[in-house]
Amino acid sequence: MERILKAEEEAERILKEAESEAEKIIREARSRYEEVYEKVYQDLIRQAEEEAKRMIEESKAKAEKERKAIISTLEEELKSLKEKYEAKKEEALRKAFEYFVSRLRG
């Protein structure tokens, strides 16, 4: 009988300890609520800002690439214009002269 009474005391102690520990766990979780909230909030904002920064950097790189492509097109176009001028300048001069003389004749 004595052994059973002791066991019951032991059981009661175990349960009390467990309840106390359980309360402590929940109390700690409640006390960490704000800290976790703030950390997660700031982490998400930082991630969004980093993503935005990355998007903008990528667009700058893309814009630069397109700008270079347009410059390349320009260089080719200018070269082509010079070739056309060289090939046609005599004909153009002749036509301009003919036009001028025709205007003199009225």
């Binding site: 032991e10 467990a18 704000e34 976790v36 904002i45 935005a52 397109e66 036009y99 003389v101």
Partner: protein, 197 residues
Amino acid sequence: MAEKIAEKIVNDAKARAEAILKEARKKAEEILEKAKKKAEEDSRERREKIKMDAQIETARILRSAVADAKVNLRWSIAKEKEKYVLLVLEDLKAKISKDFVGTKEYYSLLSEMIQKSLQVVQGDVFIRLRKGDRLEKIPLPKEALSRIKKVEHVDALGGFELGSLDGKIVLDNKFESILEREERNLRVLLARCLFGS
């Protein structure tokens, strides 16, 4: 027998204690999970604004850079075409001076032009010729010559000015003036001929 009962009492207590702790940990996890979810919800609007601002900025960067480059491209091409057109216009003046002025065809044309001008200006007239031109070189009929009472000379590429003696009417047929009047048409003609545009 009592020993077994005592052992069972303790073991049951341990099992229950474990269950209490497990429940407490679960609840703690739920509390922290709730904090995370609330942070996600509360930050959503701000995160979406950051993303939207970035999308707008991205589009602006691309549009602006590409548009600027295209404008520069068009401007540079137009400027280059203009340069070549002007070169031919300069060549035209040189050709007129070198290959045309002073030729038989030149004087013949001057004659035609002077006679047309005399139809516009009534009575006696003055004429200003290019330095180097002489009235005698121009094959004009006597009636025309008789109306020209005064001959002067001016710096000119070619052509002449002809006007009434009182100076009220003056026709400017100097080649520079004709070229200036015809420049717009000449530019169009040259651009078409050189570049097909």
